[in-house]
């Protein structure tokens, strides 16, 4: 697993539940690592062990933890870079939804070696969409739900999201767009570091 993903799990637990909780999870996971490097690669097994330890330590379903992590990734100040990169996907939430098709390619362009599952957007109705999450990274769909929900807020759109379970092609997420411009959302300047 790319270190960036393990590092994300670490930062999420640390920033949300405190450094002590992270120390506890790292210890319980018995992996001999308590500080992941974003720019190194690790065995996939380590990520699984950390998440298993987190589920026990936080006493929450793994789906909830992953969804919270998705929210964290695009809303916490330490991960502002990721939110900005996702906002390059489009000017509206619908544009952003369409940009999901390119997400794994965009990730690879940014960081060769970062292989995210492919996403596919399907239009069901004029306001109903389905995001298909290819297999390869179990639980990724739940992280995506957290990301989609928070990005909708970011764009000021009102959406309802639902995990529809797995099919052969992967995990299905239903996205119902109730109102595209429910609030003004957060501003996005193309240029980084511009005071808003």
């Amino acid at each position: 697993m790319h270190g960036l993903i393990n590092r994300s799990v670490q930062c999420f637990i640390r920033d949300t539940y405190g450094p002590r909780m992270w120390q506890q999870v790292a210890l319980d996971a018995r992996i001999g690592i308590d500080d992941f490097e974003a720019m190194l690669n690790y065995d996939d097994d380590l990520t699984f062990k950390v998440l298993t330890a987190a589920r026990a330590a936080l006493d929450k379903p793994i789906e909830t933890i992953l969804e919270d992590m998705g929210t964290y990734l695009v809303s916490h100040p330490t991960t502002e870079a990721l939110r900005r990169l996702l906002r390059f996907g489009g000017e509206t939430f619908v544009d952003f939804l369409y940009s999901l098709d390119d997400l794994s390619d965009r990730a690879r362009l940014a960081l060769p070696g970062l292989d995210l599952p492919a996403l596919e957007l399907h239009e069901k109705t004029t306001t109903g969409y389905q995001v298909l999450c290819a297999p390869g990274m179990p639980g990724f769909a739940y992280v995506m739900i957290g990301i989609l929900r928070t990005m909708a807020d970011d764009y000021g759109a009102l959406v309802v999201l639902e995990h529809q379970g797995q099919c052969e092609a992967g995990d299905c997420i239903d996205v119902s767009l109730l109102e595209a411009a429910f609030t003004t959302g957060r501003r996005f300047e193309l240029a980084a570091g511009v005071a808003i």
Binding site: E37, A38, M39, L40, A81, R84, L85, F88, G90, E91, R106, L109, A110, L111, E189, L190, A191, A192, G193, V194
Partner: protein, 342 residues
């Protein structure tokens, strides 16, 4: 190929080429794309004199806009007159049969600054323009590079820490100063008796100066081999400086015994060391102390006394060993020790 003109409404140009300009035969701006208008928010571009607003950078010499029109399709570079800011790149072409010219411009490499300075958004670029993708990549790569930079700094810090914690002299494989300090401390705390020799090579600088540092390194490695072969496994040999060594001889506190050992070492060191067909000649001077000399031995004191004895060896002509004698300040000396074993 058909030369039929394609008619597009001005609004279509605004979307397809949001940085276009139409300049008429009198040199007045007739139309300007919306993104270009953002560069000069205080001036409505329409009806301005083109050359009042823009300064031609390339071609620099041109006889008005009509001359530009004479060019079929040419590259131009423009700057905003008297404002600094980005250099705009683009092309100019005559517009049909009229005396008007059409320019389409872009920011070129200064796009990143332009986006910041003029607060441009995705809507300011044509959908086919890859500027947004470029900004995305620029930002992604900057973030990745920063993360890599941090990793490098952490690795560097870890390397320095590891080096500080290391106990081995990488050139000779002997222990280093740090290791010696630890061993000394441990032996003293355990109240184990030992002899300590401070060895400084003689004429080592000459070897370095004459044959170069590679020869010097080779000599140090040869010396290390001599020291290892003349001592026992329980003894500790450390290189504590360029050509300085400390030997801790475990449970050997008798000065006479220590002197004999020192004599053997010096005799071995006097043997020429071959290096790339040449012979390097060195020798060694030694100062000796023993825990027996002290009521309560201390590492710092023992090292200082051994150093003092070494100084005497050097002073009296090198190639010899001297035992420090604390009681009367005189020194038992072993002269011409090499002869014993020749």
């Amino acid at each position: 190929m058909s030369a039929d003109p394609i008619c597009l409404a001005g609004e279509a140009f605004d979307v397809l080429m949001p940085m276009h300009l139409v300049v008429n035969g009198r040199g007045l701006i007739e139309r300007a794309g919306p993104t270009l208008a953002k560069l000069l928010p205080d001036i409505p571009l329409k009806d301005q004199i083109f050359l009042d607003v823009f300064e031609l950078r390339r071609p620099r010499r041109v006889e008005g806009v009509t001359a530009l029109a004479a060019r079929k399709c040419a590259r131009v570079q423009l700057a905003l007159r008297g404002r600094g800011g980005p250099v705009l790149k683009g092309f100019v072409t005559a517009l049909g049969d009229s005396d008007r010219v059409f320019l389409n411009l872009s920011f070129g490499i200064s796009v990143i600054d332009a986006v910041r300075d003029f607060r441009l958004t995705a809507g300011d670029f044509s959908p086919t323009d890859l500027t947004i993708e470029m900004l995305y990549l620029f930002e992604a790569k900057t973030a990745v590079l920063e993360e890599s930079h941090k990793l490098n700094q952490r690795l560097q810090a870890a390397r320095i820490a590891a080096e500080e914690q290391a106990f081995t002299d990488t050139l000779t494989g002997l222990k280093n100063r740090r290791a010696m300090d630890h061993v000394l401390e441990r032996l003293i705390a355990a109240q184990t008796g030992f002899g300590l020799m401070h060895l400084d090579l003689d004429f080592f600088k000459d070897v370095n100066d004459t044959f170069g540092h590679a020869a010097g390194d080779h000599v140090l490695q040869a010396v290390a081999q001599v020291l290892v072969s003349e001592t026992r496994g329980e003894d500790m040999i450390a290189r504590i400086g360029g050509d300085e060594f400390v030997l801790i001889i475990n449970r050997m506190t008798d000065p006479a015994q220590l002197l004999r050992l020192a004599a053997r070492i010096i005799a071995r060191l006097r043997a020429p060391i071959p290096y790339q067909g040449r012979m390097c000649h060195i020798s060694g001077s030694i100062g000796i102390v023993s825990t027996d000399f002290y009521d309560t031995p201390g590492a710092g004191r023992m090292l200082a006394d051994a150093d003092a004895a070494l100084y005497v060896s050097k002073h009296r002509g090198r190639g010899r060993a001297t035992v420090f004698d604390r009681a009367d300040g005189s020194h038992r000396q072993l002269k011409e020790s090499h002869k014993e074993h020749d």
